[in-house]
């Protein structure tokens, strides 16, 4: 499968995986699947399979990294060696280090760090299978892991990418489209606050195309946000609305 496809969108306007230009890949999320983590989530976004876990708030080790007035969020994005076509060395690559940083910066605006001074919360992301857009799916899962850990947040953070293939701006690129296409624009978003917490682009886009891609990605984010909320609610779903206990 090393041949580069010539056309990424066919005459009927369908992409290589049969999707329309503004169609998302299927997304499936499960919350609270790891018993040892304080919070966790598993996401399947297209062929991406990603696990996220949160530990904390807890005392930081080493202690000198803690901040006197807030909680420190640490994030590790890591890909399993078998997650990609050609085996990837388990040692952290420069890409993983950069992604760990931008993912952390996409989650920080949502967490009430100032509530828990001198503590830390660690978020671990493991990409078990990758097919384009892993940083976005990772953020969507990581935010749920934090919420599942009971950490107060301003909003869930959800992420989605848009890009340009064959001269058309499209939503949610999968791996081949990302490699062969002209641009990739991942966006992380807090829908209730209209806040973009991650924004990157590589490729070449006219300014108008860039704006179109950002807007398209945000619309994709809003759709995934509904799935995110449902996944969180499902875990804590009430069988009946009644509670026997009086408010004490």
């Amino acid at each position: 499968m090393n041949e580069k496809p010539e056309k990424l969108i066919d005459k009927k306007g369908l992409r290589l995986d049969g999707r329309k230009v503004d169609e998302l890949r299927p997304v499936k999320i499960e919350v609270g699947i790891l018993s040892n983590a304080d919070g966790s989530a598993y996401i399947e976004h297209g062929k991406n399979k990603i696990l996220a876990a949160a530990f904390g708030p807890r005392e930081m080790h080493p202690k000198h990294l803690s901040q006197p007035d807030r909680m420190v969020l640490r994030c590790r994005y890591h890909m399993a060696p078998f997650s990609v076509g050609e085996r990837k060395s388990p040692a952290p690559s420069r890409r993983e280090i950069e992604l760990s940083k931008v993912i952390r910066e996409s989650l920080e605006p949502s967490v009430f760090l100032e509530y828990y001074p001198r503590t830390g919360v660690d978020v671990f992301i493991e990409v078990l299978q990758a097919d384009g857009g892993t940083r976005c799916a990772s953020i969507t899962a990581a935010a749920l892991a934090l919420a599942d850990a009971g950490i107060p947040m301003r909003d869930l953070v959800v992420a989605c990418a848009a890009g340009k293939i064959d001269d058309t701006v499209v939503l949610d690129l999968f791996d081949t489209e990302d490699k062969v296409g002209c641009a990739d624009v991942p966006v992380a978003f807090m829908p209730n606050l209209n806040a973009v917490t991650l924004l990157q682009m590589d490729g070449i886009l006219k300014p108008a195309e860039f704006e179109k891609a950002v807007n398209m990605a945000i619309e994709g984010c809003k759709k995934i946000y509904e799935i995110q909320k449902e996944a969180l609610k499902t875990k804590y779903m009430l069988i009946q609305a009644e509670e026997e206990v009086e408010e004490e």
């Binding site: 940083k101 973009v196 917490t197 991650l198 924004l199 590589d202 070449i204 886009l205 860039f210 704006e211």
Partner: protein, 263 residues
Amino acid sequence: MSSLITRVRIRQIEQLVEKGKRLDARGLVDYREIKVEQGVIEKAEGSARVLLGKTEVLVGVKVETGTPFSDTPNNGVLTVNAELVPLASPNFEPGPPDENSIELARIVDRGIRESQAIDTEKLCIEAGKKVFVVFVDVYVLNHDGNLIDASALAAVAALMNTKMPNYEIKDGEVVIKQGYTQLPMKSHPITVTLGKINNKLIVDPWLEEEQVMDSRLTMAFNEEGNICATQKGGSGYFTQQQISEGMKLAQEKAAELRKKMKW
């Protein structure tokens, strides 16, 4: 990790920005004074030194021969590395590149790579076997804010200054000849970084402003005014409107810088 800025200073900077001013009497969207010198390290194939206010970045380019990547057998290789040298700031520690230097290197790399600044096809010596490998090493010598723009500028200036050795193929072996050729370039990307302080956008944040701002937005532009790289950084966020506003502002400033550099 940053050395502590006092609350009084933070308020001072915020209040000034509110009034459209900055500590060094710049406007919100003005760059500091820029000085670019090329060819400062003779032993490197190319080099440039940029002074952006007091921020100083030196970029050295080394060109060697090597093997191409399997998925691009006809293209030369570009690799960008950045060192936040300990003498540049009390906060830089010796050791392997940390996330900040890796992010810096990758942003500079993206601007150059995606704009196709280097004509990598012309770096091919023998398809699939031998190509020129261009090593761009960003050396931050003094950190006074906005390392990204200074490094990106220095990197492109250094590439423009780079000469590749001439060669010929004798009996299947690459032999270096006398003389040099200028590194073939197709584009000169310009990178602009904005900071956000209390919902106001500023251009070219300096060191203390970087400790007050809640996020930054970097964009790289090519000659046509098209965007070839974007990176949001920091623990804050931008609204959709602020992104559009930022994009237009960055585009304007890139055009201004381009005129100034005569690129």
